[in-house]
Amino acid sequence: MNKQNQFHIVKRGAMPWYFGWLVRGIAIVLALLVSAAVTTILTGEDPLQVYATIFHGAFGTKRKAWMLGQNMAILLCVSLAVTPAFKMRFWNIGGEGQVLMGGLATAACMICLGDKLPNAVLILIMVIASIAAGAVWGVIPAIFKAKWNTNETLFTLMMNYVATQLVAFFVIVWEVPKGAGKIGIINQTTEAGWLPVIGGQKYLLNILVVAILTVAMHIYLKYSKHGYELTVVGESERTASYVGIKVEKVIIRTMLLSGAICGIAGLLLVGGTDHTVTTTIAGGRGFTAVMVSWLAKFDPLVMIFTSFLLVFLDRGAGEISTVFGLNHSFADILTGIILFFIIGSEFFINYKLSFHKAGKEEKHV
């Protein structure tokens, strides 16, 4: 008889709903242990202190907590934007560019119309312009995908760089002062086009807008006819056309929406907080959003948690790098490690290992 253990992989049957979250929870805990170990090796600090530093970085002061809220709001906004596209299996990794275009449009309105219109009208125009710009940037790859099935992953990616260069172009056109290579704070004195500050908190407006968007997106995906259509298209284009759903229309409509929400993220960044535009305002969120959305299984409500997790880590690891004089990219390394663990844990949710029992005694049927 063969002595070695024979095992192979089999798919799990239906599991209770909490099983998946249990596995993911374990993965996150393991990842945090590994992260602490890596940090300890690099800094020599004891692991508990590492966690304390991370926590301090995220919540330590009122300002830090608000920053966490702001970063989370923007990341969640971009994640909400890409989610309908992903649910449709349209790999929009062009969130970066769509946010940039929204921001650029906002800045353009602020610069060109800043002192010519009443503030309320200006803000209205900014809103429309940013949404339109994001939507246009999103819909261009969608049109080609719908008509010729052009690979959207690379198309949206390339659109990011085109957007970046476009912003770089305008940064030089609008630079203040000439030769500075940057725009600086727009309308510093008049504050024209600055989104209103509510409750004395600079970031509160952004957080509220995104909270409303989250609920709206949840309802849109779960209960609306549009949401149902895009899910069917994502699952099977053939089924969609079989029941008379116009696949091209749905792809284009969904990417208009996706781009538009990215545009709003650009608006919030430029009009609400930064009051300037640079090539890096999106800060890689277009890519991080892919992870936020996927980790949450495209559920907007769960995305509140996943976006919190990633921002929390980013801020916490940022604190570690500041305290220990390390490079800020340390946050990316920790994020990467956590992602690897969560991605890997999906396997244990869907599959299990099964050991082969060799029949020792021969039984007759």
């Binding site: 990794i93 080609f144 085109v162 990219s329 340390f330 390394i333 994020t335 990467g336 890997g344 396997f347």
Partner: protein, 331 residues
């Protein structure tokens, strides 16, 4: 007057990281793995080379004592090891654990770029050295040494002989990869794995092993692109984010060349040319317009994407199972 003799060598130098990246990615994609982590892999390849070279330079008293063999061998080995680990992480997640390839790739890129920038920014502090910045000019001089006679042969020498050995290695790798894919048993099996893993499996090909090996070798080739960039192109100076988007362009090149590394040699030179064209447009022009010229490689990629998707020929399609994981007992 457009100065071709200075333009072509610069375009070629630009093209080598792209060529290595796209050759590596082509090999990977032929196995059905769409590795969007290539940009991260190239960062890791570059920084591991830097770490290796840095430690070696620190360990010898002066540049004169450096041994050419070690000066090249140590960074190269470090680079290959680093990119191999990246390839292994990708395979572990997507092949063994059957995770989503797009998400894994993006996470790998986040990790790799962060890894590169982190060590680029913190290496000096971590090793407690007393140098102001990482400038490995001594190591770089070994990497960028041109072929003999390059200076004596005028324009011919400049265009054909003026590059470091990695450039010639890149072209050789591309040619060998193209040959292996097209004419050997291993290449045939690899293509079958990428087209239809179930078929390959039923034919007795070890699908998992082919995916692992091709993805890891692909990663190592791509990692060399990062090494070339920092050691030869950037003269041994690491600056964060300087490598930029070359990794993504390398992935775009794969589609541009319709999965043929030999075509990649010329395509990457074309891209390299487009990448630096803005430096050659007539002086005196508005600075801002140069930013628009920098869009060219991306716009060309988009145009090529659209054209290939419109032509829609059977032979020009990506491997049929690209981006999907394989589970033998799927029902």
């Amino acid at each position: 007057m457009f100065d071709l003799v200075s333009f072509i060598p610069r375009a070629v130098v630009q093209s080598i990281p792209l060529l290595l990246g796209s050759t590596g990615e082509t090999l990977t994609e032929k196995s059905g793995n769409l590795n969007l982590g290539i940009p991260g892999v190239m960062y890791v390849g570059g920084i591991c080379g830097v770490i290796g070279a840095f430690l070696y330079e620190q360990s010898v008293a002066s540049a004169e004592e450096m041994n050419a063999f070690l000066a090249i061998g140590i960074p190269m080995l470090a680079c290959l090891l680093g990119s191999l680990v990246m390839g292994l992480i990708y395979c572990l997640l997507t092949v063994t654990l059957r995770a989503n390839q797009n998400v894994t790739g993006l996470a790998l890129t986040t990790f790799g770029v962060g890894f590169g920038n982190f060590f680029g920014g913190s290496l000096i502090k971590l090793t407690g050295s007393d140098v102001p910045s990482i400038a490995l000019s001594a190591t770089s001089s070994f990497f960028s040494r041109a072929l003999p006679f390059a200076d004596d042969l005028g324009w011919f020498g400049q265009i054909f002989l003026s590059y470091g050995f990695l450039a010639y290695l890149a072209i050789a790798i591309a040619l060998v990869t193209a040959y292996v894919l097209k004419h050997t048993r291993v290449g045939l099996h690899l293509r079958a794995v990428g087209e239809s893993p179930a078929t390959a499996d039923a034919a007795g090909i070890n699908v998992g092993r082919y995916k692992y090996v091709s993805t890891c070798i692909g990663s190592m080739i791509a990692g060399l692109g990062g090494l070339y960039y920092v050691m030869d192109y950037a003269c041994g100076v690491w600056s964060n984010d300087a490598f930029g988007d070359r990794g993504w362009l390398a992935i775009a090149l794969v589609i541009f060349t319709i999965w043929r590394p030999n075509v990649g040699i010329f395509a990457s030179m074309l891209f390299g040319g487009l990448y630096i064209l803005y430096l050659y447009i007539p002086a005196g022009m508005n600075l801002s317009v140069k930013e628009l010229y920098k869009m060219l490689p991306y716009i060309v990629t988009i145009v090529v994407l659209v054209i290939t998707s419109m032509r829609n020929k059977r032979e020009n399609q990506p491997p049929a199972h690209l981006g999907l994981s394989y589970f033998r007992e799927e029902r």
